[in-house]
Amino acid sequence: MASTAVGGKTRRRRAFSKKDRVTLGVFVGIPTFLHVALVWFPAVATIGLSFTYWTGIRFSDIKWAGIANYVNIIADTPAFRIALKNNTIWLLWFALIATPLGILLAYQIDRQIRGHKFYQSAYYMPVILSLAVIGIIWNFMLRPDGFINGLIGRDITNAVSFFGDDRWNLYVILTIASWRHIGYIMLLYLAGLKAIDPSLREAASIDGATEWQTFKRVIFPSMKPVNIIVVVITIIETLRAFDIIYIIYGTSAGMPILGVLVFQNIAGEGASMKGAAYAVILFVLSIGPILAYLRQQFREDVK
């Protein structure tokens, strides 16, 4: 369980022997090098390239474009606005529906309701599947010649349009994505709940607190490290959404979301650095709220 350890003010300083230093140097140095080479270098290169025109093949073809790619995206590309809307709905859905549901389930299972072991594994099952596999499974289920349409006796001429109809297809996708997200949040939260000292709960019930009061006043606040992770994960999962959409719609922008727009503009023959500009926009959108949130949390800790 990854939890942010707080404290350590009393930790003793100690001198490292030469051997220790070499060991530490290797153990820290190699991962740092790999991290810089494989994460930071590509990230910085992408930011740089987003200000250029390039087909992605010969370095000599790179041409300075200034902010033209961004202007193009923001001013001229309708898909960008739709994607932004879709990602926002996605975030709201995850934040207001999927994540709270995951917390509720975790709480119920932690209270050891009847059959909790069964529920626990049932809800956790989708999490072991990758989003791509989930996309494949649900595509089989919901496409025009898929299982559900077969079950209700419709063929491709009059199949229910789960993926094609704009009025609800985003919510179909969100339901599928939640199928996994709920289990994920549940697991994180459950691990946190298990770590809570039972005496807290006892004390609360002796004081006559209701179940809801206990959760709201005692359990929830003492779960703070887990809560931070849950918020961050919810934001990240929203913005990195790609796999399910790619499996179901391909790159056709049948369902524009930011992740797909990055791919659509950078993969294939139509490679242009507009894709890099999308990636930078996505990066700023993800890093912004997360940094703001973490900063605020840590500031409270200092208080």
């Binding site: 025109y53 087909t55 992605g56 093949i57 010969r58 041409k63 474009a65 033209a68 202007v71 193009n72 001013a75 001229d76 590309t77 309708p78 898909a79 791509a132 996309g135 494949i136 595509n139 089989f140 496409r143 025009p144 010649d145 063929d155 491709i156 001429t157 199949a159 349009s161 789960f162 993926f163 094609g164 109809d165 704009d166 790619y246 499996i247 179901i248 719609y249 391909g250 790159t251 056709s252 922008a253 049948g254 524009p256 659509q264 503009n265 993969a267 294939g268 023959e269 139509g270 490679a271 242009s272 650095m273 507009k274």
Partner: protein
């Protein structure tokens, strides 16, 4: 389809990587023995399809090559959309030595980047087996050839002769827009879908745009529009959508749910009367049964503007390239030469899968009725275009036109703003 995509493409990438390494190790030894094209050593071939019929056809080609040369060929198959999306990375990494690709801009672009093997000398050897137009389609911007054509197919209006006869029309006598409307009405009267349509993949509807534009405004306007010399905001483009809108009431309502093969199923299962598509799916009909295949017919898209009659057709050419970064480029070259030579073509024909080969050695008298009709459809056209996503800039076709047509299907009344947006997105493209 796409669920197969990832599994396959990933596997073949891994496989490709393994082969690449093996090839590099073997490559050193081969250099010394290099001389004739007799022993070019083991090579790998990348197929741009996982469908049953073309796979059978390509495997027959590979087997014939192996039997003739003794070189072993590793066959790597990738679903076509995935192959296309990865091509740029594939060609820069460890590509298969020979691979299936398309003629025109798409080939020229990669040739310009130095990623394809110059096949000019192959063309000198086997070029006399091809009509001049194929050589032009195989030529890069530098005047050298980089492509060996395999086959072509026309984009036309397909139907089942029996179904047209059922509504009391002569299946071989549909010529004009009015005839088309009569068929659509007839099908509607029988409670059927008039025109099977798909656009989930984002490219299927481009064929309909191409042909409507060519029929209404003519070849020259179409080519100029795709080349950026005419504007999308032109009233003539608007006219295309006015006609298209007249077809909408006869289409299946789930256009955005179906990919091309879904729309084909509508025709195959006799649920739709007409299907506008490339003729390659004839093989799928034959897979189903010979009777279904014999019932299948194709005509050019009907005339709308008498000035242009039926003088233009989308007829994309598919074929082979050799990858410059392959482990065994000489082997790749040797393989595509065999594929282009009548001997290789014959091996593909012998697999029994219908193919209209680009090679003039294929005796057209052996064509079946449907193939002969494809030839007739081609013969009627004066101008041949490839396809929207092969005739305009790749950073415009897929990412811009595709979504624009999809949003038009969602809301046909938005045509004005969609066309304005198309034009402004064209204007915002980076200079070439």
């Amino acid at each position: 389809m796409s669920e197969v995509t990832n599994g396959v493409s990933r596997r073949s990438v891994l496989k490709g990587a393994a082969i690449g390494t093996a090839g590099l190790v073997g490559g050193g030894a081969l250099l010394s023995s290099c001389g004739g094209d007799a022993a070019t050593g083991p090579l790998s071939f990348g197929a741009r399809t996982v469908d049953e019929s073309p796979t059978k056809q390509l495997k027959a080609l590979v087997a014939a090559y192996e039997a003739k040369t003794g070189n072993t060929v590793t066959y790597n198959a990738t679903e076509s959309n995935a192959f296309q999306n990865n091509l740029s990375q594939y060609l820069q990494g460890t590509p298969d030595d020979a691979f299936q690709w398309m003629a025109g801009y798409r080939m020229q672009f990669f040739a310009e980047q130095g990623l394809l093997v110059d096949l000019s000398d192959v063309w000198e050897e086997i070029g006399d087996q091809y009509a001049e137009s194929y050589k032009i389609a195989s030529t890069g911007l530098d005047g050298k050839q980089y492509f060996i054509p395999q086959s072509w197919y026309p984009w036309g209006l397909h139907y089942r002769k029996s179904m047209i006869a059922d509504i009391g029309m002569d299946p071989e006598d549909i010529y004009s827009w009015d005839d088309l409307m009569a068929v659509l009405e007839g099908m509607k009267g029988k409670g059927l879908i008039g025109l099977a349509s798909a656009d989930k993949g984002g490219w299927e509807a481009m064929g309909t745009f191409d042909i409507l534009n060519a029929r209404i405004n003519g070849y020259q306007f179409h080519v100029d529009l795709l080349g950026g010399r005419e504007k999308w905001t032109d009233d003539r483009v608007r006219e295309v959508f006015t006609y298209w809108e007249k077809l909408l009431p006869y289409m299946n309502t789930n256009v955005l749910d179906l990919e091309w093969d879904g729309a084909m199923q509508l025709l195959l299962q006799r649920k739709a009367g007409l299907f506008f598509n490339g003729s390659w799916f004839g093989a799928n009909f034959k897979e189903q049964s010979d009777a279904d295949y014999e019932d299948l017919w194709i005509i050019p898209f009907p005339e709308i503007n008498p000035e242009h009659a039926r003088d233009t057709i989308d007829a994309p050419i598919d074929g082979f390239c050799a990858a410059a970064n392959g482990a065994n480029p000489d082997g790749g070259k040797d393989f595509v030469k065999f594929a282009g030579d009548m001997e290789g073509v014959q091996a593909m024909l012998d697999s029994g899968i219908p193919m209209t080969s680009a090679n003039s050695g294929q005796d057209t008298s052996t064509y079946d009725a449907f193939q002969k009709q494809q030839l007739a459809v081609m013969g009627e056209a004066k101008y041949i275009t490839q396809f929207l996503d092969r005739d305009t800039r790749p950073d415009f076709a897929g990412p811009v036109v595709g979504p624009a047509l999809q949003s038009w299907f969602k809301n046909p009344k938005d045509v004005g703003s969609i066309l304005e947006s198309l034009q402004s997105q064209w204007d915002a493209l980076p200079p070439l």
